[in-house]
Point group: C2
Chain length 496, copies 2
């Protein structure tokens, strides 16, 4: 077992570095004083450099190769093969390329920030061009089959391909666009109750109750405030969430906290014994997002959930809510309305935003369009899919941080996650006796136990496709999301 | 300049590791959820291991040796010689010894914790014996002149020796013991106003005002709560303090915040351009403590300081304080009274606590007494120097964490710091026009500027002795503390 023990020790050391970087990043987003930024960036870069050295260490690769031929258990074999895949990936990019990429990303981020605040795409364009060029090169270095964009997709959703996503987004385009058009012709519901004045400390305390009810373990985590909500993991025993509060918009904190709580439950459900190993790591970003979306949408925006929790909320904000019912609240949180900004979109039109980014990224990485075309294409697609005119690039092609970070292939995981969520939730409703009743009683433990058993505890032991078949009997299928959407929103908008 | 540039880059990398560890430690003390502890310990150990590898890297030592013969500026020369000293020190302990020490310290800490809570020295004794044995060995490995304890002292206060400290503590023993006896025979002042109920959030807000008034830069730091107050540095642009609040004892937060604020001003005053180099590092623990004690005692427990700040405090707590004057408050915060616990001691009898630890450590490391003798010797010395009977080992020999951490030679820096503080403050009063008047007006900037110019900005460019002579014209001299004490407390206790 000498080689396997070395493998564990070295993998855990890599994990220690990775999680230490996460602590520094978390602090940066949550508590760090402003003057600290430059030195903190340097400290993170130093740790990242050491992390890279350890991840690509020659001996590590040699041991992994040897382990392929050793007599291991199935779990050990899976750990080794996943680690070897990651090792090979990290060794495909040479140091000079990594440095060049990292420098270009830093500059792109600065340029994007300025471009967005000045509403001037031309400030961002030259840097983005450099970055896209490097990304295209990166695809060649990693290697791919059929379409270079597959190399990018694989970074976030192993196994995802243009071929499969084209089919998925074709469904989105046809079925969902049509259904949303029907909703648009129905009378709109009232959401004004969300936009009253709600005291922030009470909002925070209420979401802590919701997190505890979901099963989030505050002895292995905490919730703080940050500009952009996120979940971060230092081990499955320390998984932190952040949220944001708007005194005049209750929805902001609710969906942030519940969404991040879903992510955090996944991470808290990974087995600490497998710390630093694939068996103790999340499967893919799509699977991760399935957990956050399941809690945010399938549970958190359901009537049964609020049948239990609305009374408590009324109790905290009697002056705001005593004249409303759980049903009013449910309607107000499920307004479907095409809009310009992805992060503010409802759970249906959200996928048009992703669809647009998917189509653009695929063509951009594939080389059939160029950076200079982006504003025009962006605006055309928003008109076509969402029916909205984009008034400025700041509210259009410059709205997301992702490209400036060099993340291409990330957006699709948001939709994949939602579609997995619908499919999993459909299965959970079958597997768990009286799930609806349990939720109405505020008993969320059976749902969490189901997710723990079916998904969390397996870490990366199965591929996403395999796991989905194991749980639901088939691969990811858009129909479950469509069924969920039709059932829920037909009732909400009195469609026949 | 190739070698010097390598030297800077490598030193900054070491500093990045050191400060990253500090972030992880800070989080552990301030915000970390309880279940996180084991993995966090492992993450810190991993970073510490890499830090040790970098600090003892062969090439680093070779470059430092080469640089000794290169044409450098005085500052560069000083950087290189200080770094070489540190390098040689770290390479004197081999890996096996470091591991053994670190393991023994972990076990000692656990044993000490249990021993203290059960009031049973015998639980701690065997581990402490192992640790003392290793510490004696460590002195031999480091090397020393005249007395092995000098090797330990040098870790915290470079240049400090048994010879000099014997003289210093002889003065403490004779002059201070005699003066405290005089105070003891005078009528005691009233401190009851400190022990009313003070709302904690208001206490916290008030200390933030005091820190800002001192010149603490909240854009380069923050104040949080922790069980044991401390200051920690991630760079001179991010120096954080912690404090503690007791709703029924206002003194707790006041002296914690002002004390840590003094430490933090020193760290914020180091030059960011010298990040990671001796020129950008604090000089010694004694010098560090001089900054905290100067603010805590010479300034923070002075009448002039409260002539300015008491009105504001009254304003915050009118019901508690409207019947009192600044003078009443000043008397209440300067009660001299022998006691059992070092951390609760007043600024005079405090040094008897240190004296006792100094005498014990010197003999223990020197091998003239053994661990088994400690409780008896401890109690005898408390009777002799403080006139108090020690009712239990928990309140006696087991009260401090230091020995369980393997820190021998640390305690004297507390007294050295106070004595430096008195000597520096005396000089500042001469150098700064109308210092008393400025303080009465709440204008503390000239004092901070003086400390910045005389001490902070020099980092480790001078030895402590040298710097003290540069500032005050002579080496550390106990008489300044004694003069300060006599003047202040003769007035407070109406002694003639």
């Amino acid at each position: 077992m000498e080689n396997y023990n070395y493998y564990i020790t070295h993998s855990q050391k890599i994990a220690d570095l990775e999680h230490s970087i996460s602590v520094l990043n978390w602090d940066q987003e949550v508590f760090m004083p402003e003057n600290s930024a430059p030195r903190r960036a340097q400290q993170i870069a130093t740790l990242a450099g050491i992390h890279h050295e350890l991840s690509t260490e020659k001996k590590f690769g040699e041991v992994l190769e040897k382990l392929k031929n050793e007599d291991l258990t199935d779990i050990q074999k899976r750990n080794v093969s996943e680690s070897l895949k990651a090792y090979k990936k990290s060794t495909k990019l040479n140091g000079a390329f990594v440095t060049q990429m990292s420098k270009t990303i830093s500059e792109s981020f600065v340029a994007w920030n300025e471009a967005r605040s000045k509403n001037d795409f031309s400030i961002f364009a030259p840097k983005l061009e450099e970055l896209v060029k490097l990304k295209r090169e990166e695809c060649e270095l990693y290697g791919y089959e059929n379409h270079p964009y597959n190399a990018q997709l694989d970074l976030y959703e192993p196994g995802a391909t243009v071929k499969d996503l084209d089919i998925l987004f074709k469904d989105v385009k046809h079925q969902l666009v049509e259904f949303v058009a029907k909703i648009a012709s129905a009378p709109q519901n009232d959401e004004s109750l969300m936009f009253q004045k709600y005291e922030t400390t009470k909002q925070l305390a209420f979401t802590e109750e919701l997190l505890a009810q979901m099963g989030y373990n505050f002895k292995s985590g905490r919730q703080d405030l940050s500009t952009h909500p996120f979940t971060t993991t230092f081990s499955s025993k320390d998984v932190r969430v952040t949220t944001r509060v708007n005194e005049n918009d209750l929805s902001e904190i609710l969906w942030s906290s519940i969404h991040e709580g879903g992510h955090a439950l996944y991470e808290q459900g990974l087995l600490d014994d497998n710390y630093g190993l694939p068996a103790g790591s999340y499967l893919s970003l799509g699977l991760h997002e399935s957990q956050s979306r399941l809690y945010e949408n399938n549970l958190g925006r359901s009537l049964n959930y609020w049948k239990h929790n609305f009374a408590r909320l009324q109790n905290i904000f009697p002056e705001n809510l005593n004249n409303y019912s759980a049903e009013d609240f449910y309607k107000a949180m499920n307004i479907v309305k095409p809009s310009l900004i992805r992060t503010n979109a409802d759970e249906l039109t959200y996928h048009f935003h992703v669809l647009i980014r998917y189509e653009i990224e695929k063509d951009l990485i594939g080389g059939t369009i160029e950076v200079a075309d982006l504003p025009r294409i962006w605006n055309e697609k928003y008109k076509a899919y969402l029916g909205v005119d984009v008034p400025s690039d700041s509210m259009g092609v410059l709205q997301d941080i992702h490209w400036s970070h060099g993340s291409f292939g990330y957006f699709p995981t948001y939709s994949i996650g939602s579609f997995y969520a619908a499919q999993f939730y459909n299965q959970a409703s079958k597997d768990i006796n009286n799930l609806d009743e349990l939720i109405k009683e505020g008993n969320l433990a059976p749902l969490l136990n189901w997710l723990r058993e079916k998904i969390h505890k397996h870490g990366r032991l199965f591929a996403a496709d395999e796991l989905c078949i194991k749980i639901t009997g088939e691969k990811l299928n858009f129909k479950y999301f469509m069924e969920y959407a039709k059932k829920k929103y037909s009732a909400l908008y009195n469609l026949n």
